[in-house]
Amino acid sequence: MKKVYINGSGTISSQKTFDNSEFLEEVTTYNDTVIPAVNPVYKDFIPGSAARRMAKGVKMGVVASNLAMQEAELESVDAIITGTGMGCVVDSEKFLSKLIDDNEQFLTPTSFIQSTHNTVGGQIALGIQCKGYNFTYVHSSVSFESALLDAQLQLINEEEKNILIGGVDEIGAHTTKVHGLVGHIKEENTETFSVLKSNTSGAVCSEGASFFVLSSEKQESTYAEVVAVQTFNTLSKENLQTTLNSFLMEHGLNVSTIDLIVLGNNGDVDYDQYYNLLVEGAFSEKQQVYYKHLSGEHNTVSSFGFWLGAKILKTQTVPAETRLNQKQINSIKTVLLYNQYRGENHSFTILKQC
C-alpha cells in the first residue's frame, strides 16, 4: 500500500493566503457577520473574457487548483475530486430569481449551466484537459473530507498517482440572508479576535477555496503525509472522546502521540461545546490551534484547516494569531484536525511530518 502526500496547495480565503511564500504574516481583521474572500488577480490565471462569465466560486476553484498544481510542478493530474457544501449559489440565485421575477420567461441558459454542483470540477477538468475521474461531494461540512477519503483510497491502492482535491464555497446574497433569518449567521457584527468569546448563536459566514495535489510519491514540495480521515454523520458529545480514541488507535496512535490539534470552533455558542470538550479535556496540555476567526465559516472551510495543519508541519511554525493556548513544543510531528458544523457531520483527520 502506498502512502499519501500533500505535494502542492492553493488557498483563497478571507485572509491573503494565495501567496504560498507567505504564512499569515499579515492578518486582515473584520468586524462583520459576513466576510468575503480576498481576491487574487484572477486575470493572471484566467483569460478576462472567460473570467467575466464565471461566478466567484468557479474563479476561486480554478485559481486555487492552478496554484496547487504549480507548486507540485504538474501540468495536469489523474483525477479531480471537489467538495462543495452549497454549490454554485450565485448562479443558482441568479437563475431562480429571474425565473420567479419574470414568471419563467426571458431566461437564458448561462446561469443554469453554471449552477450545477459539479461546475467547478468540470471547469478545472476543461481547463487542464483532464479526462480522468471527476467527482463532486456535496455533504455539508464533510464535503471536503469525503473528497479527501476518496482520493486517499485511490492513491493507496495505486489506482492513480496524482489527484487534485479541494473544497470551495461562495457567498450568495439571498442564501446568506435567509440563513441569517434562521440563526445560522450571527446577528451582531463580531470582531475577528472576539469570535470565540462572542457568546452568541450562529457563525461569521464566509467563502473560499482550498485545493491540494495529493500524490503517492514524496517530493521536494511535500507538505505532509495524510495518515487518515474519517467522517461521522452524527456524533454525541458523550461519545466524542471514545470515538476519537478508537479512530486514533486504528492508526496506531493515541492522544499522547498528537503534538497539535487544529480545531474548527466558529464561536457559535450552541455548538462550540464539542470543541471545548477536547480543549478542556484530553487535549488541555496539547498545543491548540484555531482558524475560523480568520477564515469565517462555510461548508468547506475545513479545507482551510487542512491547509493550516499542513503548512504548520512543513514550516514548523505556528502563526501567533492561530494559537488558542500558550503551549508550545519544538518539534511538531503529528497533527489532528477536528471539525463539525452545527453538531453534525464531524470529521477527524491526521497529518504527519515527512
Binding site: 441558459p109 450545477t116 470540477g121 456535496v138 455533504h139 464533510v142 434562521v182 454523520n233 452524527t234
Partner: protein, 399 residues
C-alpha cells in the same frame, strides 16, 4: 475482482411504480409513465411532458409516518421511500449491527421548496423550516437518520446526471477497501421549476414522448424518481447467509473535458468510462450481454453515446436499450433507477424495450432493442452521462 460487490437489496419509486414490483410490471407491459405535468404550476405545462410520480407530498408524508412539522423536500420524501424498501428487501433488522454507511446523490436537493418560498422566507416565518433543507446533503442526512444510520460514513454526490451511478461506484469502492461492511447507495431527484426551465433554455425538452436513438428525436422528458441498492461485503454475505440479487462487477468514471454541458461528438468520456469499467471487472467487451444506455433522446447525447458504444464494442454491439421512455430522465437518480432495472433484467433474463423508436439514426447502423426480449443475461453494462462532462459506467453481473 472476483465476483464483485454483492447487492442484497433494492428499492425504487418512479413514474412507473412505487416499488420494485410495480416498476417491473410496467417495464414488461410497455407501460409508460410520461404525461402532462400536474403537480407543478409552470407556464410550460402544455409544451412539455414529464415522468411524474402520482403521490402528492402530503400522501408521501403520511405513507412515511412523518409528523406535520417535518421539513422534507420532495427529493427527501422520494429518497426515503426507496431507501426503506431497499433496506427491507435486504432483510436488515438491526442496521447498527454492522458498520453501515449511506451514499446518496441528488442534483436539485431541496430546490422544490426554495423556489416555492424564495421571497416568502424573507416576508414571513411560516415556511422557514425549509431553509435548512435546501442544501444537497440534507435529504441524505434525513434518510440516514430514518434508517437508523448513526455515527457513520454518510455523504452525497452531485455530478449532474451521473450522480447515482457514482454513488454506487463509491459505495463499492468503500466495501472493497474494508471501510464499511454494508452501504446503502443511490439517488433521488424531484421535479422542479428550476430544472424544467433550465432544460427549457437549453432547448432539449421534447414536447412529446421521448424517442431515444431515433433519427427524429426531439429531446428529453424530465422525470422524478429515487432508487437505492444495499451493498454488502463478502464476509457479511457469508456470515448472514444472505441472498445476493446481483454483483457490482466493475465501474469507471471519466470526464469528457469538452464542454460544460454538451458531450463530445465522438464520446471520448463515455468511451473511457466503459473501458475503465470493463478493466475493473476484468471483462472483455464481448462478455457484455446487454447495455442499458443513458439514451436521453437529445440530439447530442444519443449521437455521442452511440459512437462511444461503437468505439468500445466495434462490430459486435450487444442488445441495447434506453428505459428513459418509461420514466423520463430522472437526472441524479437515473443511475440508481437503471441499476434496479439492470438487476431486474439479470434476475428475470429479460431485456426491456426501447419504446417509441421508429427511424434509425443516419450517423450509424446500430438499432436499439425495441421489443421485450427473453435472453440468458449474465452481465449488463449501464451508462450514465452528465453535465460537466461527467461520464460513468457500472457493470452488473449474476456472479
Amino acid at each position: 475482482m472476483g465476483k464483485g460487490v454483492a447487492i442484497t437489496g433494492m428499492g425504487i419509486i418512479s413514474a412507473i411504480g412505487n416499488n420494485v414490483e410495480e416498476n417491473y410490471n410496467s417495464l414488461i407491459s410497455s407501460n409508460k409513465g410520461i404525461s402532462r405535468i400536474s403537480k407543478i404550476d409552470t407556464i410550460h405545462k402544455d409544451d412539455i411532458m414529464v415522468g411524474e410520480i402520482s403521490f402528492t407530498n402530503k400522501e408521501l408524508e403520511k405513507l412515511l409516518g412523518l409528523s406535520s412539522d417535518n421539513n422534507y423536500s420532495r427529493t427527501a420524501l422520494l429518497g426515503l421511500v426507496a431507501a426503506k424498501e431497499a433496506v427491507k428487501e435486504a432483510g436488515i433488522l438491526d442496521i447498527s449491527e454492522y458498520k453501515t454507511g449511506l451514499i446518496s446523490a441528488t442534483s436539485v436537493g431541496g430546490m422544490d421548496m426554495t423556489e416555492k418560498f424564495y421571497y416568502d422566507y424573507i416576508e414571513s416565518n411560516t415556511n422557514r423550516k425549509y431553509i435548512e433543507g435546501h442544501h444537497a446533503g440534507d435529504s441524505t442526512q434525513k434518510i440516514a437518520e430514518e434508517l437508523g444510520i448513526k455515527e457513520s460514513l454518510v455523504t452525497t454526490i452531485s455530478t449532474a446526471c451521473s450522480s447515482a451511478a457514482n454513488a454506487i461506484m463509491y459505495g463499492a469502492r468503500l466495501i472493497k477497501a474494508g471501510k464499511l461492511d454494508r452501504v446503502v447507495v443511490g439517488g433521488a431527484d424531484c421535479l422542479s421549476k428550476f430544472t424544467i426551465n433550465g432544460f427549457k433554455t437549453l432547448m432539449i425538452l421534447s414536447d412529446t414522448y421521448n424517442t431515444p436513438f431515433d433519427e427524429n428525436r426531439k429531446g428529453l422528458n424530465l422525470g422524478e424518481a429515487a432508487a437505492f441498492l444495499v451493498l454488502e461485503s463478502d464476509a457479511l454475505v457469508a456470515k448472514e447467509n444472505k441472498k445476493v440479487l446481483a454483483y457490482v462487477k466493475g465501474y469507471g468514471n471519466a470526464n469528457d473535458a469538452y464542454h460544460q454541458t454538451a458531450s463530445s461528438e465522438n464520446g471520448d468520456g463515455a468511451t473511457l468510462a466503459m473501458e475503465k469499467a470493463l478493466k475493473v471487472a476484468n471483462l472483455q467487451a464481448e462478455d457484455i450481454d446487454y447495455i442499458n444506455a443513458h439514451g436521453t433522446a437529445t440530439g447530442n447525447n444519443d449521437l455521442s453515446e452511440g459512437r462511444a458504444i461503437l468505439r468500445v464494442f466495434k462490430e459486435n454491439v450487444p442488445d441495447f436499450s434506453s428505459t428513459k421512455p418509461y420514466t423520463g430522465h430522472t437526472l441524479a437518480a437515473a443511475g440508481g433507477i437503471e441499476a434496479v432495472y439492470s438487476i431486474l433484467a439479470l434476475q428475470r433474463n429479460i431485456i426491456f424495450p426501447n419504446l417509441n423508436f421508429k427511424t434509425p439514426m443516419k450517423e450509424f447502423a446500430i438499432i436499439p432493442q425495441t421489443e421485450l426480449k427473453k435472453k440468458e443475461l449474465n452481465t449488463i453494462l449501464s451508462n450514465s452521462l452528465g453535465f460537466g462532462g461527467n461520464c460513468s459506467t457500472v457493470i452488473f453481473s449474476k456472479g
